[in-house]
């Protein structure tokens, strides 16, 4: 069985006090609880502070381009659907640069577990607005404040019938750990939006700000009810729900592809002899 020490990676280069530390520690704990070994899963990430995440623990890693983690994760899952695949992204990475890919990953329902470290600001490029930044927030390059409406990833995901839609908070490790476990157990695309303070650049959405607003969704809530889920996903302001907002049991992309029902692509051998008749149709 793997222990926390088996997951020790490089020393993180995040700012002291960053919410990412808590997410990293909690994620490792969840992996240990799940009994996973470092070689049994892959984390795919893009660019941003969150995208450095897989380097800070020990596992298979493809750290690619800004916004492009989901296409890579999709290709990887289709090549080897016995591999557990996580995608880790920031709000800029996933909702900004990679917005198109997010929409289609949800539609395709590829069985990838996406964790978005949502700090509502661009950290790596030092403080610009992200798609989840509150309207009106003044930044260096937006002196009149953000004009665009704040993106609501939960409502977007429910609207697209995303298979698993959840929100958690980096300041509530126990909750986050349970959400990681639920996402791993779920079959289909999972979007987990993790609220996370950026101590360097986001002076509004601080630890205290989140702590005053975040509340646990009550146990009797039924995440299978899409209309109710939509209602819940719109809650943002004085009260912000965390937990599984929506869940369905759509077939995953991998389950729909007949060629990999018996074994994953990566375990299928190539036999040129099998192709000897391939040119027949050209006669």
């Amino acid at each position: 069985m793997a222990t926390l020490d088996d997951y020790k990676g490089q020393t993180p280069a995040w700012c002291p006090g960053c919410g990412n530390f808590s997410i990293l520690r909690t994620f490792k704990e969840a992996l240990v609880e799940l009994g996973l070994e470092p070689h049994q899963f892959t984390i795919v990430s893009g660019i941003g502070q969150a995208a450095k995440f897989p380097h800070y623990l020990k596992c298979n890693t493809f750290n690619g381009l800004h916004g492009r983690s989901l296409p890579v994760a999709t290709g990887l899952r289709l090549a080897n659907h016995e591999m557990l695949v996580f995608a880790v992204a920031g709000d800029g990475d996933c909702y900004g640069e990679g917005g198109n890919h997010l929409m289609h990953a949800m539609r395709k329902n590829v069985n990838v577990k996406l964790f978005v470290h949502d700090n509502q600001v661009y950290g790596l490029t030092k403080g610009q607005a992200s798609p989840t930044t509150h309207e009106g927030t003044v930044t260096k390059n937006m002196p009149f404040g953000v004009f665009s409406e704040q993106l609501n990833p939960m409502a977007l995901a429910v609207a697209l019938d995303c298979s698993f839609v959840a929100r958690s908070f980096s300041g509530d490790p126990e909750h986050l750990r349970s959400i990681v476990r639920e996402a791993v157990a779920h079959k289909g695309f999972c979007l987990v939006d993790i609220l996370q303070p950026c101590v360097s650049f986001n002076k509004l959405n601080t630890h205290e700000w989140y702590r005053q607003r975040v509340y646990h969704i009550e146990p009797e809530y039924d995440p299978a009810d899409r209309v109710k889920a939509f209602e819940r996903s719109l809650e943002w302001g004085d009260r912000i729900p965390i937990g599984v907002i929506y869940r369905n049991s759509r077939l995953s992309l991998e389950e729909r592809i007949p060629m990999i029902h018996e074994r994953p692509l990566v375990k299928q051998s190539h036999d040129i002899a099998k192709l000897c008749d391939i040119l027949k149709e050209f006669y």
């Binding site: 690619g64 381009l65 296409p71 990887l76 060629m259 990566v266 391939i278």
Partner: protein, 572 residues
């Protein structure tokens, strides 16, 4: 004997069906066939043609001359009829075209009314026309009947019977109506295979063990996706239509990282979106094969026409410095083998490999006695379960003599596989230090490049090595230059040098093609672009300057007559 048949009309009139059927009939009859198409970017209407050339000797190019023209629309009678040879024949249906020109060349065949009378439906006018062509040529109908029965097998005996009757009616009408025609085409001994460039790339990918193909549809690359999708069930290949080209290349890279051979393809505008992914492939040393179907640009240009103007794009695009492999097949046979070589070298050296083609090569069909799949290579260069389990430690980007690091499949052992688009260390973790950076550049680029260059074959010489005039081409101009050499060789000392393995630029160790060029009196670089992109590459790589250039950039391919005409201007 060398006949050229052009089927001409609006999109949606069944031009493709008639052309495809005829070319298959000819190939099965043992003729050498060459087909090419000219069409507009629209679903219905416009003015299009499908040209089928048949001969009793190998054919490798399109010609302007038309021996038999089927005119389905008025525009064909006005424009295409001008290309019909002295002894040629134009067949048309005066009830559809509402005109009845005078002259020996014109043969009015009521395609539609014969179709209704004998087949029972006006849709079969195409079958009547197909039969009529075979009638003009005096060719046996058995092979056509077989094709009809195969094509309509699912639709039942009645449909087959009706089509056979329609074809026979067209045949008889043509035989009677054209008593003075001088065509003749008896069946030849051995049937041939007929294959288009785009299908050959598809076959090459499949035969190379490609298991994952992701793309966004874009002419002229879509045919690869269609071919592979059609084979996916039988051969266990996943064909994923991505949301855009950015996703396509990233998906292919994800699949390749996961342990399977992967490919994507597009054309200029789509490939422009993939460029970021191209450098990701280079940095992470993830094998990938990229099909690049050139079409006239910039922007969306001429969507359905042809050009060789993306060579510089393929050569120099993407940021940073890294090795890449570029092949440009000249015919479907080369397309098959070079696609295979692209897969092999891409995985062997963990670098991106391109197969660049164009609309002309994609669509043209060529005949062969057969293609030998035994010539294909397949070596799995990846470390999988057995070879991995014996390793005490594994580093994805380990420094090696050759620059090639061991490529492990994640999940097949306890070793973990780590890679990064940032500069990274041997383990694959991101770094900032200067020393590691330097060593990684040496590993990825400087060590691999000379080894890859040794794998590249020299250009193909057609004709004598001491020829006074050397015609140089690359990619899809292979066939037309070859026919031009054949045509001129009685009168001139002329040879062709054709490049299909373009980058890394071939060395002269095995074949001193540069000496050959330097010794020639005249060297002419023939390209389907305005800037002479290949001539520039040759100059950059070798310092050699061609004495002349012939460039065509109107979106139409060189034809035999057109190239000969251009050549006469240079060599008299």
């Amino acid at each position: 004997m060398d006949y050229s048949i052009r089927i001409c009309g609006e999109a949606g009139q069944g031009i493709q069906t008639v052309g495809d059927t005829l070319s298959r009939v000819f190939a099965r009859n043992g003729y050498h066939v060459f087909t090419h198409q000219d069409y507009e970017s629209r679903i219905r209407g416009g003015h299009n043609f499908y040209q089928v050339r048949i001969a009793d000797r190998p054919l490798t190019a399109a010609c302007d001359r038309i021996d038999i023209l089927i005119a389905f629309d008025v525009e064909s009678m006005e424009k295409d009829a001008l290309f019909v040879a002295e002894q040629g024949q134009i067949i048309y249906d005066s009830t559809v075209l509402k005109q009845k020109p005078d002259g020996r060349k014109f043969l009015d065949i009521p395609f539609t009314s014969l179709a209704i009378e004998h087949g029972g439906s006006r849709i079969m006018a195409n079958t009547v026309a197909t039969g009529a062509i075979l009638g003009l040529l005096g060719m046996d109908m058995d092979i056509l009947f077989k094709i009809i029965s195969d094509t309509f097998q699912k639709k039942g005996d009645d449909v087959i019977k009706a089509n056979v009757a329609a074809a026979a009616a067209g045949y008889d009408f043509a035989v009677k109506g054209c008593a003075s025609c001088s065509f003749s085409a008896a069946a030849r001994a051995e049937q041939k295979m007929l294959i288009a460039g785009i299908d050959a790339i598809g076959v090459g990918a499949l035969a190379s063990g490609c298991k994952f193909y992701a793309a966004y549809p874009m002419t002229p690359s879509t045919g690869i996706m269609n071919y592979l999708a059609g084979k996916s069930q039988e051969f266990g290949i996943i064909v994923e239509q991505a949301e855009d080209e950015i996703a396509a290349i990233n998906m292919a890279l994800g699949a390749s990282f996961g342990g399977v051979r992967a490919m994507t393809a597009s054309s200029g505008g789509g490939f422009a979106l993939m460029v970021e992914g191209l450098s990701l492939a280079a940095m992470t040393e993830t094998p990938i094969v990229i099909g690049l179907g050139q079409r006239p640009g910039p922007a969306t240009g001429f969507p359905t026409r042809t050009e060789q103007a993306e060579l510089q794009f393929a050569l120099y695009t993407a940021h940073g410095e890294f090795p890449r492999i570029i092949f440009a097949p000249g015919d479907p046979e080369q397309a098959l083998y070079l696609t295979n070589k692209a897969f092999d070298l891409s995985e062997k050296y963990q670098v991106p490999a391109f197969v660049i083609f164009d609309q002309y090569l994609a669509d043209t069909q060529w005949t062969y006695a057969g293609l030998d799949l035994n010539r294909l290579v397949y070596t799995d260069y990846r470390l999988r379960a057995d070879s991995l389990s014996g390793l005490s430690e594994y580093k994805r980007h380990a420094y090696t003599e050759t620059g090639v690091s061991p490529l492990a499949v994640p999940g097949q052992s306890r070793h973990i596989v780590v890679t990064d688009s940032d500069e990274h260390d041997e383990d694959g973790h991101l770094v900032e230090d200067a020393e590691t950076r330097k060593k990684m550049v040496e590993k990825r680029l400087l060590r691999k490049m000379p080894l890859i260059q040794k794998e590249i074959a020299p250009p193909m010489l057609y004709g004598a090595a001491d020829a006074e005039i050397v015609l140089v081409g690359w990619g899809s101009t292979y066939g037309v230059i070859k026919e031009a050499v054949d045509e001129l060789s009685g009168k001139q000392s002329v040879a062709m040098l054709h490049f299909s393995e373009i980058f890394p630029f071939p060395g002269t160790d095995g074949f001193d093609f540069l000496g050959l060029l330097r010794n020639a009196k005249k060297t002419i670089c023939i390209e389907q672009n305005a800037m002479g992109q290949f001539a520039r590459l040759v100059r950059a790589e070798t310092g050699f300057e061609f004495s002349a250039a012939i460039n065509r950039y109107d979106g139409r391919p060189f034809t035999v007559e057109n190239l000969l005409g251009e050549l006469h201007g240079h060599i008299g």
